[in-house]
Symmetry: C2
Subunit: 385 residues, 2 copies
Amino acid sequence: MDDKLMLMIPGPTPVPETALLAMAKHPIGHRSSDFSKIMAEVTENLKWLHQTKNDVLILASSGTGAMEAGIINFLSPGDHVLCGCNGKFGDRWAEVATAYGLQVEKITAEWGKPLAPENFRQQLEADQDKKIKAVIVTQSETSTGVLNDIKTINSYVKAHGEALIIVDAVTSIGAVDLPVDELALDVVASGSQKGYMIPPGLGFVAVGAKAWSAYETAKLPRYYLDLGKYRKDAAKNSTPFTPPVNLFFALQATLKMMKNEGLENIFARHQRLMKTTRAAVKALQLPLLSPDEAASPAITAVAPPPEVDAEKIRAIMKKRFDIALAGGQEHLKGQIFRIGHLGFVSEREVMSAIAALEVALQELGYECFTPREGVATASRVLAQS
Amino acid sequence: MDDKLMLMIPGPTPVPETALLAMAKHPIGHRSSDFSKIMAEVTENLKWLHQTKNDVLILASSGTGAMEAGIINFLSPGDHVLCGCNGKFGDRWAEVATAYGLQVEKITAEWGKPLAPENFRQQLEADQDKKIKAVIVTQSETSTGVLNDIKTINSYVKAHGEALIIVDAVTSIGAVDLPVDELALDVVASGSQKGYMIPPGLGFVAVGAKAWSAYETAKLPRYYLDLGKYRKDAAKNSTPFTPPVNLFFALQATLKMMKNEGLENIFARHQRLMKTTRAAVKALQLPLLSPDEAASPAITAVAPPPEVDAEKIRAIMKKRFDIALAGGQEHLKGQIFRIGHLGFVSEREVMSAIAALEVALQELGYECFTPREGVATASRVLAQS
């Protein structure tokens, strides 16, 4: 059915009507006092969302652009970095670092498993010469639905003393607690089409004092992604390059909605949707890719048995129910499907998705589960939480 | 008056209602077949607009991001480049090149005057060792309303044989004829909030075969701005990083409008608005910053005499008539004001702006002109063209 699409992919995520209509307003000049007011409000609310008093800078870019800025502004050619790799995005940050001539040591885990903080501890403790200048970690690995243990990894980075911690929070900010100042996280990058509940096109980078010190001597070349320029202009409620003003209108609207809901409630809602989804999928006798103790509150990856084609499930969900699920990436293509429950997603939609999934499985002849057990389980979890 | 703003700045430019409403649609997944169809259509129409059969790639960035990509993908550290500098944007490209460790030779002209092609000829002819790897030129210098002579400069680049020509067409594409293939321009960069008639957030880079050869050996580091990645995915009607899908909806709408109007008509309209604006401003006895023979069809910079404060004119235009004009940049701040007539601007609006300008001048006590002579002149030029 036209115009009925329900996005349950890890981004773009659904956008509230208020934000869509805000975006349809005529643009204003980005050097006007009207825009400065929006910039000031949005920046203040981004700091609230990041639980930080430090800078949160706004780029016209995807999340990858923001994360690249988060890496290249604080390092110099040949610098050693540790990069956590247990999915497509962890791998991507290693590629970015390599493209800029950094010495990258990967800390890996199987896709679907969390990174072992212990591996970071060993490498960092062994680095007596303090050669490691940064540790790059993805909090919520979008490709697998794994939540890495930032708090513990960060504690080892802090014990090392020299290295910065650079966090990919693209699908975690606004979904799971990430107290930037309390943890003294140096750099945290994210993108607009996720927990922010607006379309893609804006990237965000939170930068702390220690990272700004590193910036002073960092020598990797940059201009468009030079965060110093954004910081300087943000102090005047402006931007160094023309900002996507209509996306700012949308962001202004959704940040207000988020403040009204409150951080605790937002995190609790994501927890509830994650628990509901996981319990229901288990009740349908489908294996989950990530373990419960490292489950992303943004996205749940399901690895059906070989007799159930993940792509066929997605096709039925899309065609019959207008629900867009994500497929697997790289070697997991065709092996898994991913249910996004990030951002502007409600309990109602998770229930619908589970009900639709039951139908799709039955249509494909998968009969290992008790009919209606998925929805029954989802209802039970929601009733109890 | 609320909601009455008329943008006559060089970007963001006014956006047609069709594009605003397209943008307010719910986003779709960027890995869906629906998005691929839009990507295919938009790419084909961008090639039409650029008069090229080569690649036109789409980035989530401002025009500066697109232009930086146009520079860094085709050069290596230490490469010599010539950069035309007669305004803020020419200076910016020299800064970008310097930031990446290129050897930059500036060819300058006073702000408000065009670059002398002869200076390019001399430098290129003197370069017997073919050390110059690229010539960077801005076609329409947004900061001054000067149109540089790309065709003649390009002829000298072609005579040199080795150097690429990299053109900033940010405020010229869709406003003035730039036949990319006919001139064999290697790289042409632009941004969405200009002639494209949509809000800021997309950057465009057209890349020809010779530039792609240079790409193979170019060593400047890049990842988010790596055009090879965009080319590879564009071949599959996709993008390497999440694209701003709602801006694509808007772009799809405005490119259709542009095709309906036709390139010749679009260029003629911009010529007409430029001639009307310049004649009317002259009739008001106000000096123009750029000479007639190098006037940008996108923007007209006016340099009022010292007794008329440019910023006060802008303030009255904004407050009383809801017309946003641009001010001067850098050392021209407070010295000039700029009237944008780029993109979705009609004859009606130019006439209104001239009429409003007369009132503003009278309010400021500037009485060097015959009352109503601005509007009378504008009407005469429009009637004759």
